[in-house]
């Protein structure tokens, strides 16, 4: 996993932030408010993580004096993207940032959960670590509460730390009305996931339990090893006191 290194010159577009948001795979980013970047208080400590911090900061704000040699310029380009990503991770945890990301979520910019029984639930970007350069961005599904690899390969180059480990959970915490209903009997999982699927039968069985969980069957008969696992899961659910 590495920071994308299309070292084409940043000066081809008028504004660096605009150029950045148009890069391949960058559609998960929201545009950080200018006020937020200009308030140095919000950037406390980032100078320790970003080489060429001052030049990178100037580049983001379109006021970098173009007197650097090519090698340094490439490094500053890279640093600017790292700095912007780290500011982004902070910004999306603010009220303003959460609102901007919610809007993107509402418009389906982050894609859908690949799990069939989630019925096309919209996902949110998440990092598995807050340290940059470790892991690419993943998708969190608020319905199954699990994390997935984004289907498009271009997102494998986007650093997960630019979204962070907290973001989707803070969004759902501040807007609990976004949390999908999960109690058994709500019937939400009866929503067919497939393009052409409608009836639930054959492979799925019936009842609330089978609607929320895929039940493997061979010619209509439950598979022994899977039943055993499901039985264990039921016990774990009971132990956790989860309403199913």
């Amino acid at each position: 996993m590495s920071v994308p290194s299309s070292s084409s010159s940043a000066s081809s577009t008028a504004y660096w932030i605009e150029w950045h948001s148009r890069l391949r795979g960058h559609e998960f980013f929201c545009e950080i408010d200018e006020d937020y970047i200009l308030d140095r208080f919000n950037l406390t400590g980032l100078n320790l993580d970003v080489p060429h911090y001052a030049a990178a900061y100037d580049l983001i704000n379109d006021c970098l004096e173009d007197t650097l040699d090519d090698a340094t310029r490439v490094e500053v380009d890279r640093s600017a993207r790292l700095l912007y990503g780290l500011i982004h991770a902070r910004f999306i945890l603010t009220q303003r940032g959460l609102a901007k990301m919610y809007e993107k979520y509402r418009l389906g910019h982050f894609g859908r959960c690949p799990r069939v029984l989630c019925g096309g639930q919209e996902t949110l970007p998440v990092g598995l670590t807050d340290t940059p350069g470790m892991k690419s961005v993943k998708l969190f599904c608020p319905r199954c509460e699990d994390v997935y690899t984004p289907p498009a390969r271009r997102h494998a180059a986007i650093d997960g730390a630019f979204f962070g480990t907290t973001f989707p959970h803070l969004l759902l915490h501040t807007m609990p009305e976004l949390v999908p209903r999960k109690a058994a009997g709500s019937g939400f999982e009866g929503v067919p996931g497939g393009a052409r699927g409608t009836p639930l039968g054959a492979g799925m069985g019936a009842g609330a339990d089978t609607l929320s969980r895929y039940v493997p069957k061979i010619f209509g008969f439950r598979v022994h090893h899977a039943s055993r696992e499901h039985h264990l899961q039921d016990k774990v659910a009971a132990a956790l006191g989860v309403q199913r």
């Binding site: 690949p114 799990r115 069939v116 029984l117 598995l128 670590t129 993943k138 969190f140 319905r143 199954c144 509460e145 699990d146 994390v147 997935y148 690899t149 289907p151 480990t165 907290t166 959970h169 803070l170 759902l172 915490h173 609990p176 949390v179 999960k182 067919p192 996931g193 497939g194 393009a195 052409r196 699927g197 409608t198 009836p199 039968g201 054959a202 492979g203 799925m204 929320s212 969980r213 895929y214 493997p216 069957k217 061979i218 010619f219 598979v223 090893h225 899977a226 055993r228 696992e229 499901h230 264990l232 899961q233 039921d234 774990v236 659910a237 956790l240 006191g241 989860v242 309403q243 199913r244």
Partner: protein, 253 residues
Amino acid sequence: MSAWDPSSSSSSETNSENPSWIHWYCNLRGHNFFLAVPDDFIEDDFNLTGLSGVVKYYTAALEMILDLEPSEPTSVPMPDENMIRADAELLYSLIHQRYINTKQGLFHMAHRYQAGEFGRCPRLGCGNCAVLPVGRFDQTGMDTMKLYCPRCIDIYHPPDPVYVQIDGAFFGSSFPHMLFKTFPELLPSINRYFPKPPTHAQVPFDAADYWVYQPKIFGFRVHASAPDSPKMQWRRWRSGTRFLEHPSGPSYA
């Protein structure tokens, strides 16, 4: 025993200038999960029992699949070419579903599964476990193909859009479960009751990397009473699951 050679069914006729209908069909875009069903399986009427009632232009469709000269028209007017082609596709999907559930078909598919040809589970806590194609129904026209992961025991939409048109009936609802019933050594070993590593040489998964995701806000778990607290983790629990959260070391993907 030549039929048991996995390479024989997919490449025996590729050298010919005019590939058979079956090979042409299996080489179409998005059809790469299909097996080329051997002619002798299709020519055995016993294997096709009941299919003539499901497919309207059965005889013409069967002749197209087997590259036979069309027989004398029995119905007037003759159906047009496109209808026969659609029926041939429909008939092939049902024959394919039956064939991959036979010993020979399962053997070929197991071979391809071990090579990871059907992709990997998109769920991060499954540690790149190889998946198998599956339908939610055995009938055609109901739903598209899904992918089954034996680690999380769940089904997923294929990530690649070339598969969005593939009917799940090509594989049917029983196929992956038949495969693991027939080759239990291919089941991923995350379980206490599978204490020994699978004996097979090429096991496409690592036993230690199954985990259940734990959401945190600034490093803290959400209190169980909050509306956004996790409620679905039990569904990812497998016997032998040790963590309620992914390990933070470099060992997970």
